[in-house]
Amino acid sequence: MSKFITSSIGKKVVMSLSGLFLMTFLMVHLTVNCFLFAGAEAFNTAAHFMVTNPIIKVVEPILALGFVVHIAWSIWITIQNMMARPVRYNKTNQGKNSSFASRNMFVLGGLVLTFLALHIANFYVKIKFTHEIGAVSYAGVEMHDTYTLVTSLFTIWWYDVIYVIGAILLGYHLSHGFWSAFQTIGFSNQIWRKRLTVIGYIFALVIAGGFAIIPTYFYFVQ
Amino acid sequence: MTQKINSHIPAGPIKDKWTNHKANINVVSPANKRKLDIIVVGTGLAGASASASLSELGYNVKSFCIQDSPRRAHSIAAQGGINASKNYQNDNDSVHRLFYDTVKGGDYRAREANVHRLAEVSGNIIDQCVAQGVPFARDYGGLLDNRSFGGVLVSRTFYARGQTGQQLLLGAYSALNRQIAKGGVKQYNRHEMLDVVVIDGKARGIITRNLVTGEIEKHSAHAVVIASGGYGNVFFLSTNAMNSNTSSAWQIYKKGAMFANPCFTQIHPTCIPVHGEQQSKLTLMSESLRNDGRIWVPKKMEDVEKLRKKQIRPRDIKEEDRDYYLERRYPAYGNLVPRDVASRAAKERCDAGFGVNETGKAVYLDFASAIDRLGRDVIEERYGNLFQMYEKITDDNPYETPMQIYPAIHYTMGGTWVDYNLMTTVPGLFSLGESNFSDHGANRLGASALMQGLADGYFILPYTIGDYLSNEIQTPRISTDHPEFNKAYETVREKITKLVNNAGKRSVDSIHKELGHIMWDNVGMARDEKGLTEAIEKIKALKKEFWSNVKVPGTSDEFNQELEKALRLADFIELGELMARDALNRSESCGGHFRVESATEEGEAKRNDEEFAYVSVWEHAGDDKEPILNKEPLVFENVELKQRSYK
């Protein structure tokens, strides 16, 4: 495995595997979020389960590492790729040969990251560090009232807009990232490529749609 | 046979000649091979396969090509296939049949012994290429597939879609790359040979120009191998690549390597017709298309006129109003007659006024009945890339409307004279592939050029060069400080200086086009005494015009494509004159050389075996002197000389 991580394909595999890992996280995240539609008790219980579950406690730092690796490697790769063309073209017409998302993964990723910072400040920081969150108790178990924290944030319209935009950016990022991750680890051929592209689009749509519907729903329902 | 030329054909029955010869010639020990240097000029099928094979044996090889990579050599453009007498199809093919077909196809102007050897090694070539990973076409059972080509009645052509030359060349190129990586071959890209250095009667090196920096360099070796291809570009418009040239062959001619049969040029029947004066090059449509395509022109002149005015489409013409002239004239071979026959038949119809496009110089190649019979899918599988290429160039869809084709210069059978060992009349100087003259006589059969190039490079030269080099093992590495090197260096430098300083007015291309017109009109598909005599005078005048009025912009010490072209054109002009001379001398018709004065009543080429069963071997006598004609008699002991018939 010597020099694998620094080789061009190795670097991409790191991006691919960390990306696939982050995609699994997104699926779990969205699943938990869906409990919002089932009301305060359901969501708070689910959130409580996630916070107290020992497996999650182990996975959490790994998740953080996944983000760090995904971001760090993307910066490394992007700088190297830019160095590979020191003199730029005067005129390019790349719309003819590739998708917008595929060409702008770094920019899209960066925007998603900006959104992520806001998102962490909105929830994670408040729950974990500043404790700006109420408490509720169901069947004698006391837990954070995450439901109120979430739904009250989504009554502010410009937060909703930011969250919807964040979801769309993430969807774009995934629309290329999903298929690309499989291509990089070699899981693709003439037939699977078409399938993976379709699955990737559906996945991106579900994730982006799911995350976009929540703020929209709570803005209009409340 | 005159003293100057000795073909060194081994004695004995033809089927044993090569085997016995190999057994009797000398070999060089591995320890001594390491001390011997060989220069190979050209990296096409012959050059690349030779460089790789010689390096594998242990020789030090210096390989030169004018392009940015050995893979660009024009062998890459061969489409249809490569012949081999494998008899995989159980259609009674054999070494003898391939030998016989090639001698007959060449209209009995090739050397029997060489052709037989070619047929003998043909099978090895296929094995070698398969082992290299050449993706030949296969049948569902996983075994190799074959197709048919013109001039033969068996199916012996191996192919890789319509890109056989590309795949074979990439195979040889990969073998070459392996040797470059191992250090056995030093590769010089973007280097053009501008002279050969002969010391004490032996070839000892070459002078090259680095095309990027303009630097003139001296390279020495114990032997020099020329594999620089053919000279079809003397016609300006041909199917050859733009940079294909005769310069290496011409420089060695001037240093004593005689030139054989320069007038034997091949006109390929299926090329895309010329569209206008701005055209720079002609595109070939593979002969394999004649497997399934039917060639025709209208029977009625009124249909021709309507076609030209675009009032009707070709498919509007009824079956009974079409003249499938090849099927009519040659029922046995039909659309698969040899190239020279098919080309002349097309010219005959067009000269009679039946050409189907505005210029009157085109016939149809129609796939409608093949599509009906086999389905569009099968045709697409077989010829898809060729159809696509045609559509890109002409904007016509050949699935729906017939292709338009017309003959064009494609290959040159003539070339540097070599003996059985592929050595020229200069000791230590060898010539391979299209640049020599040896195997195709007056007409080459389709899919035989690839066979010859690889046979020479993989299986013949590596043996025969050993025989020569076995006498050179005591010769130390040649110094490039020898006066002969300096002399050649100075000559080249002066020639270049003269060209870049010439205060002329005409671009190189404009003079080249003029040469092309002279050659096509007088030394083209139909030649006669008057035209040829005129051509010689016109070319002489053009040579003067070139040297006094050519304009070469830029300087000599930089990347200068106009200078490259000018140097090549200077040689083309001189070669053009020799071609006309040779065509004038050979007053018979044979193969691709058609003298109007020598035709049968039906208009077929009429050979004169009594007077012309020889190879014309031209010897340079000095720049302003007439060349000397030597003759190598052709003796046919295994094939009966007959008027060719494909009826």
Binding site: I9, A84, Y89 | Q166, Q187
Partner: protein, 247 residues
């Protein structure tokens, strides 16, 4: 047709280049793009100027010598063609046509529109071959190869080494070029024995020569004149991963 040409001119590798504007008229739509440049050069020579240097050879789309980035696309606006097969009917009368050389750190400009593609040679020399000597090989039909495998190998082997993939890739990546060769041999029994060694050697050489990495945009496939699929890149990735896992 009349056209305005915006052409990159650069005296040599070290010189600083720039665009020159040339007007050209009376071009037939049936003329090929390179013939149009021939006409421009004829015009420049007659005006006492230096002609534009550009690489070209076979002019039938197979040698891979011609290049050119035309109006923002490798080999120009038509699909599945090289520049030499591009015809003027693909342009509009009066159009401005921008012509640039391939741009990549690994392909330095030699002059005007001519670039040095030696990096491709070095990659091929690193492992783009089956290690067999001339002679001593089995009969061509000794090993049956499924037609599908032979066909897929041929799809990959169709690469002409022109460099359009590198030129068009936003990262100047040579992955499609490398993948085509690795994939061709990986599909054939003859190439199998040294498949792992080949994949590692060719990728290592590609990385060393300053090409960028692949980000799966698919632009290379779209601009490849031979339509070589990026599925071959997936196979290269697979071959490389498996090879590295065995190390």
């Amino acid at each position: 047709m009349n056209l305005k040409l915006k052409v990159w001119r650069q005296k040599n590798a070290k010189a600083k280049g720039g665009f020159e504007i040339y007007n050209i008229s009376n071009i037939s739509p049936d003329t090929s793009f390179l013939e149009m440049l021939d006409i421009l050069n004829e015009q420049l020579i007659n005006e006492g100027k230096e002609p534009v240097a550009f690489d070209h050879d076979c002019r039938e789309g197979i040698c891979g010598m011609c290049s050119l980035f035309i109006n923002g696309r490798a080999h120009g606006p038509d699909d599945d063609v090289t520049t030499c097969q591009l015809h003027m009917r693909k342009f509009k009368d009066g159009e401005t046509v921008t012509i640039e050389p391939w741009r990549s750190a690994a392909f330095p400009v030699i002059k005007d529109l001519v670039v040095e593609r030696e990096a491709f040679e070095k990659i091929q020399q690193a492992g783009g071959y089956v290690s067999v000597n001339t002679g001593g090989v089995p009969d061509g039909n000794a090993i049956a190869i499924p037609k599908e495998d032979a066909d897929e190998a041929m799809d990959a082997a169709a690469c002409i080494g022109c460099g359009a993939c590198v030129a068009t890739c936003k990262n100047s990546s040579a992955m499609l070029f490398v993948a085509a060769k690795v994939s061709q041999f990986a599909k054939l029994p003859q190439g199998k024995p040294e498949a792992a060694r080949r994949a590692k050697a060719m990728v290592a050489k590609m990385d060393e020569l300053g090409f960028g990495g692949c980000t799966n945009t698919g632009a290379c496939e779209a601009e490849c004149p031979k339509g070589i699929s990026i599925s071959h890149i997936a196979r290269l990735n697979r071959e490389y991963l498996v090879a590295k896992l065995k190390d």
